[in-house]
């Protein structure tokens, strides 16, 4: 068999993922070769913690030593490997390393959420995963069902009150176990160019009906200028929009799963975007390409359905327009309502194969709840923290949005409005099918309802094939 040398389409997008951007499909590009090399590299790096402590002292008193394993910290120096793609995360980790000489954390920078997951699954299967990894909420069940994550409930359960219930539920999967510590919350939001909205005489939409009316008006006034794009490459974005409409793609009852991807709520969202794309006010080209970046910068796109992590991406996508973009709440289906969806967001998880789970759990808790750490996560890595206290501590708006001093208080409000989510054990299958089915429908100008049904049936048949009990739904 020939080794497949993988490409790296991520490079084709905006140069480098600058924010903890959520699970877009195609970022998953680390090739087999890359993964294998990574697995080898990790084998060399991780769990090399071992005994570097004073060798002279041991021989004399070793036999009489009473407590063999009780003190995790004092004698043994531990080195933990940590995979993350958050920009400048090593600066945050350096703070920990300075104050914890016995538990040193080594960051191994990853390309992005999708790329990391591929490597993580491969490394875990090979038995050489890192001790800690940044893991997106929607792939936690995949990792848990493969038994790759450690249950750290005995170390970090006390953190429950530090996080919003929705985020906490995603890391416990609704069980008594704990598979990670929430890192960032990712409520969606609408971004628009205030100057161009004025130019085209548009009102900022608060409902999806108004959004559609704006799109139609814009298309009549300036064809070729768009209120956004429906991207077949962003299943996570679509998933968030359906959550807002009340869809719950996966749910459990007893020991069986229910899959409702092709539900009335999802259909409503799909038909809505199809009609906008057909009418012409919304483009149909993928996001994160060079062409999209150019459009975001030169006024071809004057609005963007995105997320509170956008400040991390904006300087790359729309560098010429600092101070012109404004964040507002995602338009609503019902006037006056305030419901939001999630696009991405991630946690810090401890791998089951780690030999130092307690130390790793300690670090995961520190990284996401310690005020110094969360402040550094915000300023260095551009992460919107899930920790409630950290959310409250955010005062200065991100520099790109200095025109909007209330940026963080709005974000906090959106986070509180985000619908709770249960992710299934094969979100990847759904996302992959989404990309190809919706891509096909857009190309052939077909209905968006059949690709939705395709995603549903692909997920159900994959789950059945693996032996999951799937209830009709």
């Amino acid at each position: 068999m020939k080794l497949i040398l993988g490409g790296h389409p991520a490079a084709m997008r905006s140069p480098g993922p600058r924010s903890p951007r959520p699970g877009r499909r195609r970022g998953r590009t680390a090739a087999i070769a890359g993964a294998a090399i990574a697995a080898l590299a990790v084998a060399g790096c991780s769990s090399s913690g071992g005994s570097t402590s004073a060798p002279a002292a041991t021989s004399a008193s070793a036999a009489s030593s009473a407590s063999p394993a009780s003190s995790a910290g004092s004698a043994q120096k531990v080195t933990l490997s940590f995979w993350s793609w958050a920009p400048d995360i090593d600066k945050v980790v350096a703070i920990w390393n300075a104050s914890h000489p016995d538990i040193q954390v080594q960051v191994q920078v990853q390309a992005g959420g999708d790329a990391e997951l591929t490597k993580l699954l491969t490394a875990a299967k090979a038995g050489n995963p890192p001790d800690l990894a940044q893991v997106e909420y929607q792939v936690l069940p995949t990792l848990v069902s493969n038994n790759y994550l450690a249950n750290i409930a005995q170390y970090d359960s006390s953190l429950k009150s530090d996080f919003p219930a929705g985020n906490w539920n995603q890391v416990t999967l609704g069980t008594s176990a704990l598979y990670g510590v929430p890192q960032d919350a990712a409520p969606m939001a609408l971004f628009y160019r205030a100057d161009l909205f004025k130019k085209y005489h548009l009102t900022v939409p608060t409902t999806w009906a108004q959004f559609a009316a704006d799109a139609a008006k814009l298309h009549a006034e300036a064809p070729g200028v768009y209120l956004g794009t429906f991207s077949s490459q962003d299943p996570g974005e679509f998933a968030g929009l359906t959550q807002q409409a009340g869809a719950q793609w996966w749910s459990t009852s007893g020991s069986s799963w229910k899959v409702s991807i092709d539900s009335a709520a999802s259909q409503k969202v799909a038909s809505y975007w199809q009609s906008l794309v057909t009418a012409g006010g919304i483009n149909n080209q993928p996001q994160w390409t060079a062409a999209w970046n150019k459009g975001m910068n030169n006024g071809q796109y004057i609005a963007w359905v995105s997320d509170v992590w956008a400040p991390g991406d904006m300087p790359t996508e729309s560098p010429a327009n600092v101070g012109k973009w404004v964040m507002t709440a995602l338009p609503q289906w019902t006037a006056g309502a305030s419901v939001d969806g999630n696009w991405g967001g991630s946690s810090t998880a401890v791998l089951a194969a780690s030999k130092h789970q307690q130390a790793a759990a300690e670090f995961a808790a520190w990284l996401n709840t310690n005020p110094t750490a969360t402040a550094a996560l915000v300023s260095d890595s551009g992460i919107y923290p899930a920790d409630i206290a950290a959310e409250g501590a955010l005062t200065t708006a991100p520099s790109y949005f200095s025109n909007q001093p209330a940026f963080w208080s709005l974000a906090k409000q959106y986070a509180a409005e985000a619908s709770p989510v249960t992710w299934g054990p094969d979100v990847d299958v759904a996302y992959s099918e989404f990309t190809s089915a919706f891509g096909g429908a857009i190309t052939s100008k077909a209905s968006f309802l059949s690709p939705l049904a395709q995603v549903q049936s692909a997920v159900v048949s994959d789950m059945k094939k693996s032996g999951f009990t799937v209830a009709a739904g």
Partner: protein, 304 residues
């Protein structure tokens, strides 16, 4: 004593010499292939919600991975697509390579060394980089082509429609592969004895006649070799479409057979069916290249 040692030593020595090669071959080829074949007959079996410890086991699957893989319509359409791709790419690429090689080999060509290097250079560009470069050229809003075409009164066609995407990807293959094949063919041309040319010239043959009647038949083996390698390489196309995929709705994650396998292994987390399809493709490749070589041995290498 002396005799005994004399007898055993030569018997062991050959094994000692081939041992490293055999060990490496087993380690890097046989074991991975064996493991892939093993995986292709396994599957993962989940019990209950699949969330607790030990909820997922690897069990024997029989031929089910092969059955589901080979009946998967997306795999079949990707196979068909790669065949068409190969039919487009190989003749164009080899035709150009042969043409360039003949031109360079013809006498009185200026800038020979420069032209040779210039045609070869794209081969030195990694396919991922090449795909990124071409990708930018294909996207109308970042490409310089629309502006150039507009001056000529033309408009740029959409290079990523269902009908054109295959050509857009093949173009990258032609761009990258022509130079390498040209060098192989050119090298073969240089080894044709010059007496033949002299004889032909004395007989009054033109350059074109020399090319058609002497050169091309003489380099038959080189053409077969480049042909077989090109077919094998194009059937394994992955980098170019995989790199272009995020740019367009047209290229799906399972557009080509190897992309389908990648998608299965890393998006669907089904390394078992991916292994089964890998075995199928490897076997198909083996049969194809063996058949092509057999066929060409009969016709081209006759009497050698």
């Amino acid at each position: 004593m002396k005799q005994a040692r004399g007898r055993t030593a030569p018997r062991l020595a050959p094994y000692a010499f081939v041992a490293p090669a055999v060990a490496l071959f087993a380690l890097l080829m046989l074991i991975p292939i064996g493991y892939t074949v093993f995986l292709s007959f396994e599957k993962s079996q989940v019990s209950g919600l699949g969330l607790g410890t030990g909820a997922r086991r690897q069990v024997f699957a029989g031929w089910s991975n092969y059955a589901s893989g080979l009946t998967d319509p997306t795999f079949l359409s990707s196979l068909l697509r790669v065949l068409v791709y190969s039919l487009i790419l190989v003749p164009v690429m080899l035709g150009l390579a042969l043409l360039f090689a003949l031109l360079l080999d013809a006498q009185r060509v200026k800038f020979q060394r420069f032209a040779r290097l210039a045609i070869f250079l794209p081969y030195a560009v990694p396919t991922v980089i090449a795909s990124l470069l071409w990708g930018f050229l294909y996207l109308p809003t970042v490409s310089p082509f629309p502006a150039i075409l507009a001056r000529l009164g033309l408009s740029m066609p959409n290079l990523f429609t269902t009908n054109t995407a295959l050509f857009s990807v093949a173009n990258i293959g032609v761009w990258g592969g022509t130079g390498f094949n040209m060098i192989v063919i050119y090298t073969a041309l240089r080894s044709v004895p010059s007496e033949l040319y002299e004889a032909a010239r004395i007989d009054g043959a033109s350059q074109l006649q020399v090319a058609l009647r002497i050169k091309i038949p003489m380099i038959g083996p080189a053409l077969v070799l480049t042909g077989v390698f090109s077919v094998i390489a194009t059937l394994q196309v992955f980098n170019e479409p995989h790199t272009l995929a995020p740019l367009t709705n047209t290229i799906s994650p399972d557009w080509m057979p190897l992309m389908k396998i990648y998608d299965l292994a890393f998006n669907d987390q089904d390394s078992y069916e991916a292994a089964a399809l890998s075995v199928v493709i490897a076997a198909g490749m083996f049969v194809l290249s063996y058949g092509l070589l057999r066929l060409s041995n009969k016709h081209v290498f006759q009497g050698r």
